[in-house]
């Protein structure tokens, strides 16, 4: 079973469940492959419980819901500090346990000339580390920073998490 707490329609392309920008998806379907494309300054977070075989993928855009509480209420997955808790909570509801969760992150790139004025990718990366540090969660696999686009995928059968950058794949976590 696959569920989106935000209720957006999910696109299935070539057997992949595609998660768009500002969206998240949680699944316990062992046949499912969750994928998000075009991670730039946005960050993709995957979590997976290898015992319950429950996992999910979040693609958030901006670090903090303080920017606009109304938008955050309507779409928590737009922001890291509301999307990440929602991703975890939705997995818990399907039987995942915090102590078993494997967490990976990818994205957080910057445009070339950001002389410290915006740092959206960097602030997204900081937010991810801060939330996980405060909650005693270690990041098992991380591919963040730089200026390249990334594609992140999570295979629900075994939790294999892969990031693809400029045509090259790299495993972030595998059993």
């Amino acid at each position: 079973m696959v569920s989106s707490p935000l209720g957006y329609s999910k696109t299935e392309v070539n057997g992949k469940l595609v998660i768009g920008v500002g969206d998240l998806l949680v699944s316990n379907d062992p046949e499912a492959l969750l994928v998000t494309y075009a991670l730039g300054s946005c960050i993709g977070v995957t979590i997976y419980d290898p015992v319950a075989k429950v996992g999910g993928l979040l693609h958030f855009m901006l670090p903090s819901a303080d920017l606009n509480k109304e938008k955050a209420a309507a779409n928590p997955a737009m922001f890291g500090d509301t999307g990440i808790p929602m991703l975890f909570q939705t997995c818990y509801e399907k039987g995942a346990k915090k102590e078993r969760l494997i967490v990976c992150a990818a994205g957080g790139a910057e445009v070339l000339s950001d002389d410290g004025h915006f740092k959206i990718g960097s602030r997204n990366r900081t937010l991810v580390r801060k939330i996980f540090w405060k909650n005693n969660i270690l990041i098992a696999g991380d591919d963040t920073g730089g200026s390249n686009s990334r594609t992140l995928s999570l295979r629900m059968a075994d939790g294999t998490t892969v990031v693809r950058t400029q045509g090259k794949e790299r495993g972030l976590w595998s059993a």
């Binding site: 696109t11 392309v13 595609v18 768009g20 920008v21 500002g22 494309y37 075009a38 991670l39 730039g40 300054s41 946005c42 693609h59 855009m61 901006l62 920017l67 606009n68 938008k71 779409n75 737009m78 790139a109 910057e110 445009v111 070339l112 000339s113 950001d114 002389d115 004025h117 915006f118 740092k119 959206i120 990718g121 730089g146 200026s147 390249n148 686009s149 400029q166 045509g167």
Partner: protein, 290 residues
């Protein structure tokens, strides 16, 4: 090395610009776009009429329990909204199936075009620019050069250009190394072939390298340039070019773009983009993969 004309000569599917858009563009450029004129254009175009009806009866513009006719819808939406509907609907076909060259999913280029256009209009209003609609149009068309590269090279494009990328080099610099010209210049040439006004072609040509000083400086170009960067931060059409672009300092200062303003633009764009996608779904279904 292939030349710009060689690329443009070989792409028959981009040889003609939609006549409806050309009419609307001309209305915009002359500042004479009125609801009556647009109604006349819409009545001769069934797909466009359907699009107007969908918007007029949408959550944002409709009225619960009431269905508006085309004439009522046109009056209700107003000329500025109508212009955008024409532009979005008529360019969807051009953008929807392209993107392979830049390693993008189908529909990603159209989504980026519309997202950038929405951001450009917002920036133009904040900056009190006299024609937010023109900014919308220029941002919508800013990456038509990518369509041309896509149509000419297809998947081969990536291998030709990626070998010229460097961590400290912008992607347009890599394109110039690879081909002798970049997608912005190619887009401007295509705009000229379509007989679009010079100012629009200029906005397309310089949307990655906006001139900082007079006489070449144009606020319109600054706005389109900023909107392009906003659309990157929003995660739109980030393909093999990644985030390898620069925001010009004079644009950041001139448009008073700080972190809070940029993030508000990113967040605000998405609401409007999702609404547009919902209404435009019949025209972009094949490209709605991301």
């Amino acid at each position: 090395m292939v030349g710009m004309n060689e690329v443009l000569d070989g792409i028959s599917e981009l040889a003609a610009f939609p006549q409806t858009v050309l009419k609307v563009t001309s209305m915009l450029s002359s500042g004479k776009g009125s609801a009556a004129e647009i109604e006349q254009v819409a009545r001769n175009d069934e797909a466009l009429s359907m699009s107007i009806l969908r918007w007029a009866n949408s959550v944002r513009y409709g009225h619960p329990g009431r269905t508006f006719t085309l004439r009522e819808g046109i009056a209700r939406l107003g000329s500025s909204v109508l212009l955008k509907i024409v532009l979005e609907q008529k360019t969807a076909g051009m953008f929807a199936s392209a993107g392979t060259a830049y390693d993008l999913q189908r529909g990603a280029l159209w989504r980026s075009a519309v997202g950038g256009a929405i951001a450009a209009e917002s920036i133009a209003r904040s900056a009190c620019f006299d024609s937010p609609d023109l900014a919308f149009l220029c941002a919508l068309l800013r990456d038509i050069g990518k369509l041309a590269f896509d149509a000419h090279f297809g998947p081969e494009y990536i291998s030709l250009v990626v070998r010229h990328t460097r961590p400290d080099r912008t992607f347009v610099e890599a394109e110039r190394e690879a081909f002798g010209f970049d997608h912005a210049g190619l887009g401007a040439e295509l705009a000229a072939r379509w007989n679009l006004p010079d100012r629009i072609a200029g906005a397309i040509r310089f949307h990655h390298d906006p001139p900082a000083s007079a006489p070449a400086h144009d606020v319109l170009v600054d706005i389109v340039h900023a909107a392009d960067i906003i659309s990157l931060w929003a995660g739109l059409a980030i393909g093999c070019d990644g985030m390898q672009y620069k925001l010009a300092q004079h644009v950041r200062i001139g448009l008073a773009l700080d972190r809070a303003a940029a993030e508000q633009l990113v967040a605000g764009m998405w609401d409007k983009l999702r609404e547009t996608e919902a209404v435009m779904a019949p025209y972009t279904e094949q490209g709605a993969a991301i």
